[in-house]
């Protein structure tokens, strides 16, 4: 492998509707899972990156509080935020800290405790994830941003509500057997279509739910990685892009421009293409987001993402299994933890640890993680020996 930075440990707390504990305690659960299988003591972690979207909680500057609780001080730590893709951005920074020689073992700690806010308060926070000067005064919501994408995709390609519902059906099949998911029931296309309209054309079951949760990724230099684990998972590609918060600057509404740019950059760095990817996690905050992600990641041509789900090509056993852990739609979406949870799933797939949802022989995996309504996208490509 042409990189010398590996993922050596991954952990995740259950995702909860209401966790009933402090954020630091939530992070401890994920951290313990991440270090338990490896030959590494907490004090060998020489830097950490705490990834979350502020304002969901009262604790300002969570990095010091959490690093202290996990026992990984006095190593440098900081808080990093790119909304919903904060911990994927954290992974990229952790890679650079190791690759630059500044550090050897870095922990990426993603968390969010959203349950302290009512769902309307959370929606108020979300609306301020857009441009507060030019968009928030109109009462924009995060579902509405993605609903606009759905409206454009439907107008241009004839995408239907039934096709969107099929994404949720797949999610629930895998969510049912993920014991860390919030939502663990199967539902039908009709259930989705009959659910309440939230923001046209997206209905209740087209949307993921807020959640409390934490996920931790531990990275190490190649030399240390080979010493502490038998199954290092290598970081091959790291693509990232940023675009205007104001929709007025949006180039296209039938896709997420940052996602296309980030995936191209990740493929270029990894030296492989979409056809080489064996398993993927994409940012399905809404059903339409998964369809568009198929296209932005190159798994389908523009407008043809719906065919992948119709033909069940993104199920286990299909051409490119996607979100076979239930995705955000079933797991829930604790903002800062989401990316690290996706990375954990792909790492476990490449290690062959996924039981019923294991993609046989998976060698290359991709994680697509979008921040806000397309302000940021981080795409990560991982591979095993």
């Amino acid at each position: 492998m042409k990189t010398d930075v590996a993922i050596v440990g991954v952990g995740q707390s259950p995702f909860y509707r209401k966790c009933g504990m402090a954020e630091r305690e939530l992070c401890f659960i994920a951290f313990q899972e991440a270090i338990k299988d490896i030959n590494l003591r907490p004090e060998q972690i020489d830097a950490s990156i705490v990834c979350s979207a502020p304002e969901y909680d009262k604790q300002r500057s969570p990095a010091a509080v959490i690093a202290d609780y996990l026992g990984i001080i006095p190593a440098p730590s900081f808080n990093l935020e790119t909304l919903c893709c904060s911990s994927s951005a954290g992974l990229r920074q952790a890679y650079s800290l190791i690759k630059s020689g500044l550090h050897q073992v870095v922990a990426v700690i993603g968390f969010q405790k959203m349950s302290e806010l009512t769902s309307r308060e959370a929606a108020e926070r979300m609306v301020r994830g857009g441009d507060v000067q030019w968009e928030s005064p109109f009462g924009l919501t995060m579902p509405a941003y993605f609903a606009m994408v759905a409206s454009a995709h439907m107008a241009q390609y004839g995408t239907t509500p039934e096709q969107l519902a099929q994404v949720r059906v797949k999610s629930c099949i895998y969510g049912e057997i993920n014991d860390k998911a919030v939502y663990r029931k199967r539902i039908s296309v009709e259930d989705v279509l009959n659910s309440e309209m939230v923001t046209s054309p997206l209905k209740k079951f087209d949307c993921c739910a807020n959640a409390d949760g934490a996920a931790v990724i531990i990275l190490a230099s190649g030399e240390i990685a080979r010493r502490v684990t038998d199954k290092p998972v290598w970081i091959l590609g790291l693509g990232a892009s940023t675009r205007s918060a104001a929709l007025a600057g949006r180039l296209s509404f039938t896709n997420i421009p940052v996602a296309r740019e980030a995936s191209q950059a990740a493929y270029e760095m990894a030296g492989i293409g979409p056809e080489d990817i064996d398993v993927a996690e994409v940012h399905d905050c809404f059903t339409i987001a998964e369809i568009v992600a198929y296209e932005d990641c190159g798994f389908a041509k523009p407008g043809e993402g719906t065919r992948l789900i119709e033909e069940k090509q993104t199920y286990v056993g299909g051409r490119i299994p996607v979100n076979v852990d239930g995705g955000l739609l079933s797991k829930g979406h604790p903002i800062g933890a989401t990316g690290a949870s996706q990375i954990r799933t792909i790492t476990r797939q490449l290690r062959g640890e996924c039981g019923k949802t294991q993609v046989e022989g998976a060698k290359f995996g991709l994680i697509h993680n979008v921040g806000g309504p397309g302000l940021y996208c981080y795409v990560t490509i991982l591979g095993r020996d």
Binding site: T141, S200, R250
Partner: protein, 137 residues
């Protein structure tokens, strides 16, 4: 100052582009054009990132544009609970101007289609507040 009168709920009061609100009060939706390099912006801004200058002129968005994307919001965030349903939209105008805003409630929801022609006009809201909305040309 002056910008706090923009929109039904406002989150920010200070910007060098607050003349935008003054123009809305005068009945015009205006945006900015860099007088040095000619770049046109929406949202309006006083600083040009293309050439570094901070000298602009205001131009009116008076031609019709085309609806690019929209959604009818049924569940409003804090401050907008009693305002639903409302339809948000992005409309593309000539000169590369794309505007985000709401479609007038006078247009029935089932008449809204991607590709339809819309123009942008100022509106007065409660208690002296102003905004703009999309209406049929």
């Amino acid at each position: 100052m002056g910008f706090e009168k923009f929109g039904a709920v406002n989150f920010t009061s200070e910007t060098k582009a607050s003349d935008f609100v003054k123009f809305l009060e005068e009945g015009k939706v205006m945006t900015t054009k860099c007088t040095r390099c000619g770049k046109v912006y929406f949202p309006p801004r006083i600083d040009c990132c293309a050439c570094g200058a901070s000298e602009i002129e205001w131009i009116e968005i008076d031609e019709p544009g085309e609806l690019v994307a929209y959604s009818t919001v049924m569940y409003g965030p804090t401050g907008f609970e009693n305002d639903v349903p409302y339809t948000i939209a992005a409309v593309r105008f000539p000169k590369g101007i794309q505007v985000f805003g709401r479609i007038s409630k006078k247009i029935p929801t089932d008449k809204i289609k991607v590709g339809m022609k819309l123009k942008v006009v100022p509106i007065k809201l409660d208690s002296d507040r102003v905004s703009y909305q999309f209406v049929q040309p």
